[in-house]
Amino acid sequence: MNVVEMRGITKCFGSFTANDNINLVVKKGEIHALLGENGAGKSTLMNILFGLYQPELGKIFIKEKEVAITGPTMANELGIGMVHQHFMLVQPFTVTENIILGDERASSGMIDYKKAEREVQALSDQYGLQVDPRAVVADIGVGMQQRVEILKTLYRGADILIFDEPTAVLTPQEIDELTEIMRKLVKEGKTIIFITHKLKEIMSTCDRCTVIRRGKMIDTVNIVETNENELASLMVGREVSFDLDKQPANPQEPVLKVQSLEVDDKRNNPAVRGLDLEIKAGEIVGIAGVDGNGQSELIEAICGLLKPKSGRVILNNKDVTGLTPRKITETGLGHIPEDRHKRGLVLDFSVSENIILQSYYKKPFSNGFGIDYKAVGEYANKLIQEFDVRTPDKDTPARALSGGNQQKAIIAREVDRNPSLLIAAQPTRGLDVGAIEFIHNRLIQHRDTGNAVLLVSLELEEVLKVSDRVAVIYEGKIQGWVDPKTATEEELGLLMAGSKVKGGTSQ
């Protein structure tokens, strides 16, 4: 049976067609992938299915009955549940309180929390979600928060579950757990639509895959009959090379020296504990590690956003320890922050205002008092073109861009200043293969013009592919170095878990 059938869906935003005559057929009990680049129209299509948008044209059939989904409440009634990428949870509430929120089953005006807790526990056990109904959401990890989101949909009786890029926020282990959960859900008779742009996950979890490119439906393929390369080229519309065209590194004099650095995190717990690191011009050093081992604090300390407790940071032979972010930036630092919405962009500023975020006070943009917005506009247009930032125009708010294009704007801003050290923190998180390829090439290009690059990423594959040398960080120290050309994932995994194995090459 086709549980979901969308026929000829067309949705426009102004003059922009986000969905152009899209057909989607999802069969009962399958995991159906919806694959597409950032901004291809996957989320729009799913928001239509969830009733958040109304399409201009097209028909929707749920369980072979034609419906007009006017809002999320109606979607719920039809058994459609959505697990959002950005969790919609009330942090100080308990798991149970979050799950019943909006669906409080009260008798005579009182909520029976005990009963609700039992129901949540029962659902959690049935699908193996291992969620504690009494835990406070603020205290639980990202993986469990996501399972709370899943429980929310199940509690409302959903049997068609939409997962919106669920793995973007998860660690590799958590991804494995999620895969298990999805299989279990399907076995219990649920149907899953899985929005993603990660090809590996599609190959390992899904039954069929519908590819969308620039608002149009390209094809629906059976996973057993396809491979990663075919999916990638369907998605991007051209051949994608998974191998980087990369010459061997040609390291020169040191650009960055970090010496016995100690940094506390925001709660004053030690995060970086006596770390040493050296990066030379003309090389990319990758830092691998499990999230929360001091990566963020290391970067923020180098950039001047956190004050180190002790130790030294030397950039371009200048001691920059504890200087202000601007002084350090001017010494030759570029920084692609790990959280582009928090640090990287002022989302309500236009693209062009964001492009001058690091240089607005300098000539030719400012004479010290005013800002020459004409010069800013010309510069922004130049970078938008050069870095292929897809935006309606330079005056569009950054908020309106897709994640990949937001990231390209940041990279344009940071790389074009030609810093001698470029720190790239999670530069491709949540991006599609096309954008990832672009960003990796830009990092290598930056290296090849004689600069140093520090790449910090949770994606092992990325670290191994892009870096010339790889350091593994564990509990705020460099646990060991490996040669990315020869290192195995096992070797890295052991180091990441704190084992003292001798790595490949030494520093």
Partner: protein, 355 residues
């Protein structure tokens, strides 16, 4: 181009909202047994009627523009300056001081009084700004306290320093006044004064500051995203302090203008003037843009001034007038017309999808 169209349609929908609000207000008046036609006649008569009426309306609008700009500028930097009241009182007090105690030639006297009033407001706002930046104390609580300090400081000064135990001061020296004959003549004796021109200049100043200068870029960036501003090397603390000082300076100027132009003397007051609180509504209704502040000040000012006339001419009690005004402002603030328009087009699309 599209932006321009949208802005125009906002203006039109605001005007329609005003009309709808007036209709609901008319129903309210009918229900309570008053004649809405006579009442609205009196309202418009007092806004547009004679030159003198128009002059008084403009005078009412003037402090609202200042107060609205002051609040809007702080909002842009992510600060809620609820202390405009106090800064305004202090600005008035400082201007009164200069106007009464100094002997200076005309023009210069007025200029000195205005500048001192502005500085006094800026310094009054510096205190919450500093406490916010350095100690992280929320500006709202400090501002509210500072409002009361300002009121009672002013009352004390009026009684003990600026007069001899009287409840109001003498008139300021004519050399410090910013009433000018040509405006008074033009508006047939109304108390309209140069403050109106200063208010328009202040609106232009705020526009240029926010959207043309380096400082304005920083203020807006800090207001929208302090983390990204810090990352870009801006000092969030410095910008908070500067924003509060400019905001307070505009409020202080408002106080000085009111004193030197409208009242020309200072008296002991039982309560805060309320202009600063009106400024919050003006700023929000004007979407924190200088042009929006000027337009919403015109709405508020027109209603405030016309309200008196409704009372005298049509005999509508003040309570009912407040209900009518609240209805109009509510309609404009909620932008009912646009809301209904959006829903209609959404519904239409929904029907298409279902068909």
């Amino acid at each position: 181009m599209i932006g321009k169209l949208n802005r125009n349609s906002t203006l039109i929908s605001s005007l329609i909202s005003i009309v709808l609000g007036m209709l609901v207000g008319a129903i309210a008046m009918l229900l309570s047994g008053y004649d809405p036609i006579a009442a609205y006649g009196a309202l418009f008569g007092s806004i547009f009627g004679s030159a003198s009426d128009m002059g008084e309306t403009l005078r009412t609008i003037t402090p609202l523009i200042f107060a609205g700009l002051s609040v809007a500028l702080a909002f842009r930097t992510g600060l809620f300056n609820i202390g405009v009241e106090g800064q305004l009182v202090i600005g008035g007090l400082a201007a009164a001081f200069v106007g009464l105690k100094l002997d200076l030639p005309p023009v210069l006297h007025a200029i000195v009084a205005l500048v001192v009033g502005t500085l006094a407001g800026a310094i009054w706002a510096l205190i919450p700004g500093l406490l916010k930046a350095i100690r992280g104390v929320h500006e709202v609580i400090v501002c509210i306290m500072m409002n009361w300090i300002a009121l009672f400081l002013s009352n004390y000064m009026v009684g003990k320093v600026l007069s001899n135990n009287s409840d109001s001061t003498e008139k300021i020296h004519p050399s410090a006044s910013i009433r000018v004959d040509f405006l008074t003549d033009l508006f047939d004796g109304a108390r309209v004064h140069l403050g109106l021109i200063l208010a328009i200049l202040a609106a232009i100043f705020v526009y240029v500051l926010l959207f043309k200068t380096k400082l304005g870029y920083e203020l807006r960036a800090v207001g929208l995203n302090p983390s990204a501003s810090e990352y870009a090397g801006m000092s969030v603390k410095r910008n908070i302090i500067i924003s509060m000082m400019i905001s307070g300076g505009i409020a202080g100027l408002a106080g000085a203008v009111e004193l030197l132009g409208t009242n020309e003397y200072l008296s002991i007051n039982a309560s805060l003037p309320g202009t600063g609180f009106d400024g919050i509504a003006v700023a929000l209704l004007g979407a924190n843009t200088p042009m929006g502040v000027v337009l919403s000040s015109m709405l508020f000012g027109g209603l405030f001034n016309g309200g008196n006339n409704m009372q005298y001419v049509a005999g509508v009690p003040f309570e009912v007038i407040r209900i009518v005004f609240a209805t109009i402002i509510l309609f404009v603030a909620a932008n009912i017309v646009k809301q209904v328009g959006n829903r209609k087009s959404r519904k239409k699309k929904g029907e298409n999808a279902g068909a």
